[in-house]
C-alpha cells in the first residue's frame, strides 16, 4: 500500500458541491442534472475527506462566494474514489489526483472528463458521474 500522505484510498470520499439550479424540482432537490458534473478547467474539483468535511466543502470562501456557499444556494454530496477508478463503463478514463495547496489543502481533481462540446463521449460520462454521485451530505434547501 502506498504510504504517501497524498495517496487517496479507494474508500475515501470526495465531496462535491452542486448549485441548486442544477437540481431538478426546486421543491424536492431529488435529482441532480447530468450537466452538474461538467468540469471548470482541466478537472472536476472536489474536496478530499482527509482534509475537509461536507461543511468545509460548502462553506469554503471563494471570489464568487466571499462569505462561502450555503445550503440555500448549493447542496453537497460525494464520490467514492473506488467508484471513480473502477466504474466498468468508463474504466481507465478517469483519474484522481491530489492538487491541494496551502489555500486549499483538500483539493482533489477528477481528470479525464470529455469536453461538453464532444457530445457523445460527454453524454456517456455525465450519466456515469450522475450515477456515482451520492447525495446528500448537505441537502439544498429553500428559505
Amino acid at each position: 500500500m502506498n504510504q504517501s500522505e497524498h495517496y487517496i484510498e479507494d474508500k475515501d470520499k470526495l465531496f462535491y458541491h452542486v448549485p441548486k439550479s442544477l437540481c431538478r424540482e426546486p421543491d424536492e432537490y431529488l435529482e441532480v442534472s447530468p450537466h452538474a458534473f461538467n468540469p471548470v478547467g482541466e478537472s472536476l474539483s472536489t474536496n478530499w475527506e482527509k482534509f475537509c468535511n461536507a461543511e468545509g466543502c460548502l462553506n469554503a470562501k471563494t471570489l464568487t462566494y466571499p462569505e462561502g456557499r450555503t445550503s440555500l444556494t448549493h447542496g453537497v454530496g460525494h464520490f467514492l474514489a473506488d467508484d471513480i477508478r473502477n466504474n466498468p463503463y468508463i474504466k481507465g478514463q478517469l483519474e484522481i489526483h491530489y492538487i491541494g495547496n496551502e489555500n486549499n489543502k483538500s483539493h482533489v481533481g477528477i481528470f479525464g472528463i470529455p469536453l461538453s462540446k464532444d457530445k457523445k463521449p460527454y453524454n456517456a460520462m455525465k450519466v456515469q458521474l450522475q450515477r456515482m454521485f451520492r447525495k446528500w451530505d448537505i441537502k439544498p434547501i429553500d428559505k
Binding site: 448549485p19 439550479s21 442534472s33
Partner: protein
Amino acid sequence: MIVNFQTADSSDSHKSEYKDVRTYRDPVNSGWMLATKLKSRIPYEFNCMRFEVVGELESLVKVFSKAELILKLEENWDEMGGEKISQKAFESTVKFVTEYANYIYSNYNQKIDIPRIFPSAEGSIDLQWETKDYGILANFDKNGNSVTFYADNKRNQIIEGRFDMEDFNINLLPTSISL
C-alpha cells in the same frame, strides 16, 4: 341498429388509435358502416406551437409544463458560464417526446416511462430516463436539430448514436419502456 364489433383477435395491438370500433346499419345506404372513435388527445401549447399526446399519456403534459422553468434560467445559471437554454431546443425536445410517446403507444400499446428534462451545456437540453433497469440520455442541441444519445441496460449493453430531428427513423432508437 348498432352492433358492437369484436375483433377476431382480441389482442390489444389492434386497438391502436381507436377507443372502440362499432358497426352500424346505415338506413340511407342500406349497408354496414364502420364507425370509429379516436382516443382523446391532450394538448400542450408552447410558443404558438401545439402538441398533442394520446390521453393515456397525459402525465407528459405536466412534465413539459414544469420543464418550461428552465427557459427562465439566466446566463451563467450553472456557475460555469452556461448559456440561456434555447427555445428551439425545448420545442424539439417536446416535439420528439410527443411523437415518440404517441408512436410507441399507438404501435405497441405501451406507455413510455416518464422522462426528466434538464438544462445542459451551451443552451442545450438533456432528456433523460433513468430506472433501475436502464438509462437513456438524449441531448438536444441549441439549434433544436441535432440530437446525440447514450443508453445502457446497467449491465453489459450500451448504445450510442446521433440523429437529426428533421429526418430520423424512430425504430432505430432505444425504447424507454420498463419491461
